[in-house]
């Protein structure tokens, strides 16, 4: 609009100048490492302290094939998905329930501020510390959990709880849920508070109860935020490292081995397989990129479908009302 004015473009160059530091740092510390990781995936780079790269001559995609067909990577990928799903679903349900309670005008929960501060607290504590703390809690023979179980008579003598795959995986899932539901809850609350109060008022006037209000008013209105939470949680979940690494380092029997831990172990222990780790990284990179893009499109299409459905429902409801009105009038 103003661009026609003479002298306006005098300042345009500062747009470029002020973006230079970001661009340089991005090229150096993000783009170059990304491309370099991709390149290493096609080479024979392995061994501690090695940096010289030679492209594979027999089969350029050998590292990718090895990684994708490796039972260890497949297991790590399955674990990552299972652990993410098993923590995301309860985390979301709990966060939704709490958010609905905290924003409900009829309940007027007191002390909300204090509850929010306490429920969010685990999120701010170093994950490394939490992982070691919980690994201590489940210690054998005398960890707090064993102590409790013996004291209350559930078991006669302490047992080595973390030798069970289910328990180890369950604890990782619990820690993840426990650390993140508070954050999700606060995000959802702010989303619900952003909905125009008039919608809620008119729902109340129409006699909608709590459950109806939640499913027909609240949920459709926070869809974008739900998507945001889903995407960020999924990307975080696919990169899960700190907790599995310091809780049991993938043990027992690789039950808590995640893809990030797999990549780390390939590259920085054993025979230092940088090439395979890079190939695995690129697989994860592609999955993350595709998933994020896909979810945005799915939600966008759903948005439209939902809108059409809503319009139809409203028309139906209106027709019903008119009919009922006529019947009432004729009585």
């Amino acid at each position: 609009m103003k661009s026609k004015k003479p002298g306006y473009d005098r300042y345009a160059k500062y747009g470029y100048i002020f973006s230079i530091p970001f661009v340089i740092a991005f090229l150096l510390f993000s783009l170059y490492p990304t491309v370099y990781t991709a390149v290493i995936g096609f080479t024979d780079l392995k061994g501690l302290g090695k940096t010289d790269i030679h492209f594979l001559t027999d089969d350029l995609f050998r590292n990718f094939k090895t990684v994708l067909s490796s039972p260890s990577f497949q297991l790590a990928f399955r674990n990552t998905v299972v652990i993410w799903l098993a923590n995301f679903i309860p985390q979301m349900l709990l966060a939704l329930l709490l958010a609905a309670w905290f924003t409900d005008k009829r309940s007027k929960v007191k002390g909300q501020g204090a509850f929010k501060v306490l429920l969010y607290m685990p999120n701010i504590i170093t994950a490394a510390t939490i992982a070691i703390l919980f690994s201590g809690f489940f210690g054998y023979p005398m960890g707090p959990i064993n102590d409790l179980l013996v004291r209350f008579g559930f078991i006669d003598a302490p047992i080595e709880l973390l030798r069970s795959k289910t328990v180890a995986r369950g604890v990782v899932i619990f820690i993840q849920t426990w650390m993140w539901y508070g954050s999700t809850m606060i995000t959802l609350i702010s989303g619900i508070l952003g909905i125009s109060p008039e919608i809620f008022e008119s729902a109340e006037v129409d006699g909608a109860n709590r459950v109806q209000t939640f499913f027909y008013i609240t949920m459709p209105n926070i869809k974008t935020i739900l998507l945001f939470t889903l995407v960020t949680s999924l990307i975080g979940g696919l990169n899960m490292f700190d907790i599995p690494r310091l809780f049991q380092d993938g043990k027992p029997d690789d039950a808590t081995l995640t893809t990030s831990l797999f990549i780390y172990k390939q590259a920085f222990s054993g025979s230092y397989m940088y090439n395979r780790a890079a190939a695995a990284s690129m697989v994860m990179f592609l999955i993350i990129a595709v998933l994020a893009a896909m979810m945005f499109f799915v939600m966008r299409d759903k948005d439209e479908a939902q809108l059409n459905k809503q319009i139809r429902q409203q028309q139906k409801a209106y027709a019903k009302k008119m009919k009922a009105g006529k019947e009432n009038a004729s009585c």
Partner: protein, 280 residues
């Protein structure tokens, strides 16, 4: 009448659940702090207790007598977190200002680009990053953990969202008429305007940097350069295997500063988390 009763039952359920969850948030840390004051023998007899004992100093002595050095970890983490946060704040604000204040050809392309790369976690490109840093002999340099913060796409995004409705171009124009240079305007006028956003973003950037385990674990091999999360991971090693009391003490030393700072800043932190949702 019926509705009132129903309401009361509902309220009781809500409070019971909330109090249970609040206890669940605090209890692990409480057990940790209490065990930090108990002797290893006491912990071996009963690993759970809510009442502190008197072996705190003894535990600290055993803890510090071995490889765990919280002062070094604390100092390194502080240097990295402050450095990274300062750079991220300043250059993200500058990049966001370039987005909002100037009308340049590649502006929208650049912003779309930022939105795309925002999603990509640094972890999946770590192999290339490590190789690059190793090649130029910069492993064990804290600067390699600080400088990348200059390009923080997520923070640029939030800063832009904040600046867009807040910045009035009239102020910028009148400063120009007064003869101020563009760079000066950013430093003297725009940065102060952005204070609320800077405060929120600074807290989250600092915490993320402080808690980061993956990058330091890959880059730092020298014990003198260890950050707090790596220091903590030493507590899992064999040398502390039987020293339960001092392990809990070590964990406590790393958690307490965080809890104190969190309780002091909780108002801003909670508000910041909420903002992230709406703006994202």
């Amino acid at each position: 009448m019926l509705k009132n009763k129903e309401n009361r039952v509902m309220k009781i359920v809500i409070y019971v659940v909330c109090i249970f969850l609040a206890v669940l948030s605090v209890l692990p840390f409480w057990i940790m702090i209490v065990n930090a004051t108990r002797s290893t023998t006491e912990i071996q007899q009963h690993a759970i207790s809510l009442i502190p004992s008197s072996y705190m100093m003894n535990n600290i002595k055993i803890l510090l007598g071995k490889s765990f050095n919280p002062a070094v970890g604390f100092a390194n983490s502080l240097i990295i977190s402050i450095g990274a946060t300062a750079l991220a704040i300043y250059f993200s604000s500058l990049t966001a200002y370039a987005q909002v204040a100037y009308n340049w050809k590649l502006r929208n392309v650049f912003f779309s680009f930022i939105m795309v790369v925002m999603m990509i976690p640094a972890q999946v490109t770590m192999i290339g990053f490590y190789q690059m840093v190793y090649k130029i002999h910069m492993t064990n340099r804290l600067s390699m953990l600080i400088l990348p913060a200059i390009a923080s796409p997520t923070m640029v995004f939030f800063m832009r969202q904040y600046l867009q409705p807040t910045l009035s171009m009239e102020i910028v124009q009148s400063a120009r008429i007064d003869g101020a240079k563009e760079f000066m305007i950013f430093n003297r006028i725009v940065l102060p305007i952005m204070k609320p956003a800077i405060a929120t973003q600074a807290i989250f950037s600092f915490v993320a940097s402080w808690n980061n385990l993956f990058t330091p674990l890959v880059l730092l091999t020298d014990q003198k350069k260890y950050t707090m999360p790596i220091m903590v991971s030493l507590l899992k090693g064999d040398i502390y295997k039987t020293e339960y009391g001092s392990v809990y003490m070590g964990l406590t030393l790393t958690v307490l500063p965080l809890i104190v700072v969190y309780l002091l800043l909780s108002k801003y932190i909670i508000a910041g988390v909420a903002l992230g949702g709406v703006k994202g």
